[in-house]
Symmetry: C2
Subunit: 93 residues, 2 copies
Amino acid sequence: MKELNPLLHSQLRLAVISILMNVEEADFVYLKEKTESTAGNLSVQLDKLSNAGYISVEKGMSGKRPRTICSITPEGRKAFEEYVEVLKTYLNI
Amino acid sequence: MKELNPLLHSQLRLAVISILMNVEEADFVYLKEKTESTAGNLSVQLDKLSNAGYISVEKGMSGKRPRTICSITPEGRKAFEEYVEVLKTYLNI
DNA sequence: CCGAATGGTTTATAAAATAAACCAAATATC
DNA sequence: GATATTTGGTTTATTTTATAAACCATTCGG
């Protein structure tokens, strides 16, 4: 049985990647609402995905407020697709 | 996004359940080899699955050697199937 | 016998997830 | 126009989880 990429095999990080697979980009607030996570937890997990090179995180300003915009990178997309393939062998689908 | 049953969302426990979904029963040694886990880790995770009522664990003897036989319970089967359904919404499949 | 192998369990440690506390700036309140 | 509150986060502490290490009883092999 092949290993499940531990960086993706985490509910919150998987949820984030799953969302980013389907949109051009998503900001911190949107991800927080969609995943129903706390800000602290989301912040930590975004860092991990970013450090792994799976997502890009741009910190900018929207008017006068900070705005963090995330998007998936090609490596992130590849890692997710591989993860899904491995997972399928566990799920028998 | 629905929650992924944390008892099943663990590589080793998922691997064990996945195996047990496809066989009548499996013993400790077989599970250890198939999952390439350490005995200690497997022992702990089998306990958790057993305490959750997802598998039944029968400790008996095969000749003079101990033999632990595991099989999935109806609740375990149900939990796995639900887990797969939820996971599919994350994987877009 | 004595050392290694088998089939585990228990306990300690490392890693992960989560929560709590905090911070700066903006906005609303009185 | 001070001050309390909200927004959009980060950092640090705590809890939970996974993993590894140590151990134990029995058996087998020389």
